[in-house]
Structures are given as structure tokens and as C-alpha cells.
Symmetry: C2
Subunit: 222 residues, 2 copies
Amino acid sequence: MTRAEENYLKTIFHLGKGHNANISTNAIAQQVETKPSSVTDMAKKLADKGLLHYTKYQGVSLTDTGSRTALSIIRKHRLWELFLVKKLDFSWDEVHEVAEQLEHIKSEKLIDRIDALLGFPRFDPHGDPIPTKDGQFLERDKELLSELPPGTQGICVGVKDSSAPFLRFLDRNRIALGHTIEILEKEDFDKSLLIYREGEPLRISHQIASNLYIKKNDPWNK
Amino acid sequence: MTRAEENYLKTIFHLGKGHNANISTNAIAQQVETKPSSVTDMAKKLADKGLLHYTKYQGVSLTDTGSRTALSIIRKHRLWELFLVKKLDFSWDEVHEVAEQLEHIKSEKLIDRIDALLGFPRFDPHGDPIPTKDGQFLERDKELLSELPPGTQGICVGVKDSSAPFLRFLDRNRIALGHTIEILEKEDFDKSLLIYREGEPLRISHQIASNLYIKKNDPWNK
DNA sequence: AATTAAATTTAGATGAGTCTAAACATTGTT
DNA sequence: AACAATGTTTAGACTCATCTAAATTTAATT
């Protein structure tokens, strides 16, 4: 399994969002930063290897083996990200690039030991779930901040966009995973929100709110 | 700088043992596990990039830049090896293969943080010196056990051969870095040694002794 | 100094992954 | 139903790193 093959599988998994739909050549090309014609070639190769279902002009989907392989790469990526943050003091906007490299290191023992060193964590620094060795993972029950009504209180548990600029914006505005957030007001006109976090109010745009995942506080199940 | 290029530079550095002699095509081919004709191609390429001096039929030597590059790869390799042993409980015979992959990860920040996490160590798990960021490294003053006369006492500070079978032999026979070793007798016939270590005597062949580095105990400079 | 042996280089080919440009399919619109 | 517009695939070419087989140079031996 080459690095390129692994990157294709990972990308196809992400584009299918777990549901394993048929993914178009173009969509993959854009994500992998290559040309559609290159994707076609790779699709054939991965289909030959039994990792993809591929029908001409109809896009691709992952086979069981392909899916398992993708999950193991995602597992490695997310474990490395958490390692960088927890053990080497990287900030959450710096980890992606390095994890993109580390995820391709071939050693089961290595990743299992990293897993153990971190205490078998279930979520990465952006709140995304870390698949277990056998490919299981729980999506945490969470909602977009932008979808919740004023008065809601909850904990920030993830980000939808995990690009460095967005993450740095959150840092500057003292929004981080684990923080409690309460919606004070919602402006009808532009759907911006006035929220309360870390003891202070803050106004955020709809675009920001629609990239923040919140777990509502459940008074019964504290 | 591709992975293959990095491996060539590292290998050429090792073959020159720091002195930067002219290294033959054949010697490199053997070490990199490729054919001499491939080495010729790569030699030309690296010479074009200013990393090697290359004259047809005369072998290659590292330029200053080439040497610095090689040292930075060796630094990474040895830091990763120590990380695996110290933080992830790998044994010293398991680390090489994985470090061969990790040494190619491109992130200065990453390796500097690993360095800090380990407390800026000066030697790797096999007793080899770890170059600093600016390419300096001290060879520890050490001698081969096989070269020392009976009666000598010292500390085991390194291994010449760091192949897994040899390292596992040492584990089985309770010889490790940091252990005190004393030469009790030397057999003229086969140059085997009777040594004392960990409270017990042990007979070892000349071949074993000639792969163990000892730092003699200096009563004045304890 | 001539000849043989060994090391090294050239020439041409291969596989992985990519590209461009042209051909072909599918979809949506009139 | 015909035709764009868009999406996808083929064909042919390129780079990187490698190979084999043949040619060439250097070194060793007589």
C-alpha cells in the first residue's frame, strides 16, 4: 500500500461521510489536489486491488477492505494529532500537516503504543472521534451552534472546519473544546449570535457558529 | 529532498565514517540495496544539486551541504530511536526499522520538540552520539572490549554491530549499556574472554567482544 | 607492457504517479 | 428529441527511481 493509495482511500472515506456513497472523480481530484484523469487511473488500480468498487462514469465507493484500510489511516492521523498536542505542545492549528506525514508510518506496534501512551483516547484535538483498532467509532451526540435557539447552554465539543485560520480565530477569541457556551441572543437579520463564554459575552457571525459543535447540557445526566 | 536522496546521503556519510573519503559506487549500492548503475544515476543527480562531489570512476564524497543534510537525518534517526525506547518501551533491537521511516518526516518543530521531551540527549540506545541541531557531535572516548587486556574494568557504552540478532544475544546474556564489565581472563587460543558482569562471570567469543565498546573506569575522574 | 579481472558507466526499459489534450458519456435545458 | 455544458475517460508523455545487459575504464597480475 503506497502513500498515494492511502491518501485516496482516506479522502474517499471522508467524502462519503461514513455512508459510503458513490463519489465522483471530480470531487476526489479536488480533494487530493490532482487532475480527474489521474483519479481515473488510481480508481482502476484500487479496484483491481479490491479496495474500491468502480464503474466507469459512475464514480467509486469503498469495499469492506477499503473501508477498513481508510479507517486505520484515519485512526493513525487522529492519534498522531492528539500526541502532538498532548505530548509535544503543538497547538491545534499546527498538527494537521505533520499528521499527514506521520499517518503513513508502517508499524502497528508504534501506533498501538502511542494509543496507550495517550490513554486510549476517543477524540482528537478537533473533537473528531478516533476509530478503535477494529474500526469502530462513536460519533458524539452534538449539534451545530448555529442550529440552536437562544437560551441554550452546552459544551463546545468539536469544530466542523478545522483549517488553521479558523482555529486561530477561535484561539484569539477564547473559544476552545471543553468550554461552556451559552447563547444569549440571536440576531434575525444576519443570524449572528451573542454568546457567553469564559465569563464574557462575545458576538460571532453565523459562519463561525455554523462551524462549532455543541453538546447540550443535560441536567438529568450530568 | 526525496526519501531516496536522503537515504543515499546518510549512507555515504556512514561509509565515510565522518572522514568523508571517496566512496565507491559498489559500496553504496550494497548498503542501499540497489545496483551500482542506479547509484551512478543518483550520484549525478546529487552532484547537480550540490550535495556530492562526483568524478566518473572515482566515487563520491559529500559537500559541506551534503554533510550537513546527512547529519540532520542521522540526528532525526537517533532521536526517534531513543524516543521509541524511552517513551514507548521499544527494545533496542526493534527501533531501527521504525526510525528508518520516522527520520524522513519533515518538520523541524517536531524533531526539536522530541529532542526537548527527551532532555536533549547526547547518545542513542546503541551508544551512538546524537548530532546537535547545528551538526556537532562528540564521539565518546571508548574502546573495543576485544582490544583491552585482562584486568580492565569499565562501563559498556556502545555496540559496533547493532543488528537485532546481536542485540538480542546481549539481552539474553544480561549485557546492556551502562553495565560494568571486567575482563577476568583472555584465552590465547581463540581470543575468547571470561568477563564479569552483573555479579556473574560469562564467557564470550572474540566476535562478541569485538562489537562491544567499553569506557575504561578512570579512578581520578569518577 | 599486455592481458585479465573487477568496478563503473551508458543505453534502453519498467512501474508508479502524474500531466495535457483530445475523445467520449451523462446530464440538463430548451 | 436535439444540443450544450459538464463530467469522465483514453492516449500519449513526463519524472523519479529503479533494473538488465552491454560497453568502458581502472586496477591487478602475469
